[in-house]
Symmetry: C2
Subunit: 357 residues, 2 copies
């Protein structure tokens, strides 16, 4: 529940990194069934910058999206895109991936920027470590994340307008995750995110961390797994109590010509689809599947036509939104176990790689 509408969970949030979900209009995003999107503070802070977005009246008006937006804090990007970062307890210095300019983010600054963006759910600056990282390194980052969460909470004012979640770090170490969950829940945030997962570790390892951490977070508050967006990982996340997900996976692989179907993925650029007049997924009711053949979409992709990316992106977002709607229905009707088993009976590619943020 946000000021801009109720979000039924579990739900998947499409990612609009630079203030646009790549290749889509806001109207199309809504058509696919999404009720909330994620946007990236790091990217928007660097370009176009907060001054222009403030002048536009906030991110919603700037990008013509009137449903809820969740913004991340920039923590993930600062630590994953920047090799030249310098972190201290005060904050983190990083270089712009656009022009190499130097910037300094503190927990307070990350909140301040998100206050200007005006997103409905905001995230505190966190210290994310790569996979694999040592226990000591991971502990240090996790402890800093807790201290930064505290400062973020103290700094943030308008809780009615913007819900500030806590982010659980601790890498693949169950004991660290437990400590972090305990510290954050004591601070009493309106929601909790699990960060630092889906960063290269096996799906099984991620699932094990969920089994440790999720039960330590209050059930009545949203629990958000950051950076996960393949159907199999979403289902496993829901099975372990996750309510919210985001990932660039569906939109990124779409631009590469990969589309989601109940059996896994189709690579539409392959020659086998050249003369295939069936829709991407004969069971799908999306705009792409109602009107276009695999052969036509393949032709567009091979010819570098933008409409090709639009049709695959639309389909993948619709597919995931519909998948989450089916999961919610199964949960309501108490048939989730059946749904889960049916999914795995059909799904072929368990080891599909997760996309990065």
């Amino acid at each position: 529940m946000t000021n801009r509408g109720v979000i039924e969970t579990p739900a998947f949030m499409p990612v609009g990194t630079q203030g646009t979900v790549k290749a889509m209009t806001p109207e199309e995003i809504k058509e696919t069934g999404a009720k909330i999107i994620l946007s990236n503070t790091y990217h928007l802070y660097l370009r176009p910058g907060t001054k222009i977005i403030a002048h536009a009246g906030g991110l919603h008006r700037f990008m013509h999206w009137d449903l809820p937006i969740l913004t991340d804090s920039g923590g993930f990007q600062v630590f994953s895109l920047n090799t030249l970062r310098k972190v201290s307890d005060e904050g983190v210095t990083f270089r712009s991936h656009i022009d190499g300019s130097t910037h300094f983010f503190t927990p307070e600054k990350a909140i301040q920027v998100q206050n200007i963006l005006g997103s409905d759910i905001i995230m505190p600056l966190d210290h994310v470590v790569a996979y694999p990282s040592s226990l000591d390194e991971t502990r240090d980052a996790m402890e800093r994340t807790i201290r930064w969460a505290k400062r973020s909470k103290n700094y943030h004012q308008e809780w009615e307008k913007q819900a500030l979640f806590g982010i659980v770090q601790g890498g693949i170490y169950p004991e660290l995750r437990k400590i972090c969950c305990s510290a954050l829940t004591e601070m009493d945030f309106p929601g909790y995110a699990l960060g630092g997962l889906s960063v290269g570790e096996p799906l099984e390892l991620m699932n094990r961390i969920l089994e440790v951490a999720v039960p330590l977070l209050p059930e009545e508050k949203p629990r958000y797994l950051m950076g996960v967006g393949s159907a199999d990982a979403l289902l496993e996340g829901v099975a372990r109590g996750i309510d919210l997900f985001d990932c660039v996976l569906p939109t990124r692989i779409a631009r590469n010509g990969s589309v989601m179907v109940p059996e896994g993925y189709l690579t539409l650029r392959n020659a086998e689809f050249a003369d295939d007049m069936r829709p991407i997924d004969p069971e799908c009711q999306c705009y792409s599947c109602r009107n276009y053949s695999r052969a036509y979409i393949r032709h567009l992709l091979k010819s570098n036509e933008i409409l090709g990316l639009r049709l695959t992106t639309y389909h993948n977002l619709f597919f995931l939104a519909n998948f989450m709607a089916e999961i919610r229905r199964a949960i309501r009707e108490k048939t989730f176990d059946l749904f889960y088993n049916n999914f795995w009976a059909r799904f072929k590619s368990k080891k599909q790689k997760e996309g990065n943020k």
Copy 2:
């Protein structure tokens, strides 16, 4: 008037080179006000090829467009994209710009391919010369174009389904244009195109050729000026009796960040628009102008976001369709002279370059 609907003229046809108007869905094309599009036989013949389009049930079904389509013959592309072409009276040998493979087009073959595509208006193979070309060279090509038009007419069967137009060549030489008009009108085509213009010659020179040729073509049949798509050139064409136009200009410059306004063009990538919260054209009622600022679209373009190209393309097509609708209204209400003068009082950049096909 075609089997797929009436086209009010004068009208501008957006170009869908590879079976898609770049960056747009068919629904969006219709929303902009276009009632007919052009597609390129040369490109579709090479990729995906006629076999796949035949299998799909023709171009309309393949690309999900149910209004009229005009296809060109491939003549312009063969002669402008191919340096290795070899032309004889029998036909023209050319190399694919995609894979270098060799192909042979005859007038009959160009009709046959367009019969398979199933477009509503088709064009005969013509011999196009570059600007500038000598009188002799231009005469030879013009005479060959007439011979090929005759063969095309003899070969084509289903005139009820597909209207075959004649194409007037003759470069910038009034006497050649006259000969060609006379020869083609004797053959009695259901419509006539003026080819080989807007290929680099000054707008004034093109207008002079129109003044010679158009009066020699029957007024009750459509007269189509190929390759023209800037507002100023459209207006001058209509003033000289032209009914149909096509050009990649509005869609091509859009992808470059250039948008059409009553005063001429805006280059949205320019820094002056970074903080400009006005729509592209405050008088425009299109989707882009109703919902987005110049600042946002500039941000998208600078960030290489596809939505940026979509919004500029949509605007330019809407702008031209609306411009043609205003021209038709002015003609109906007998205020065309006033409209013409008002346009030129406002339009700043008479010397804007035409795009190529």
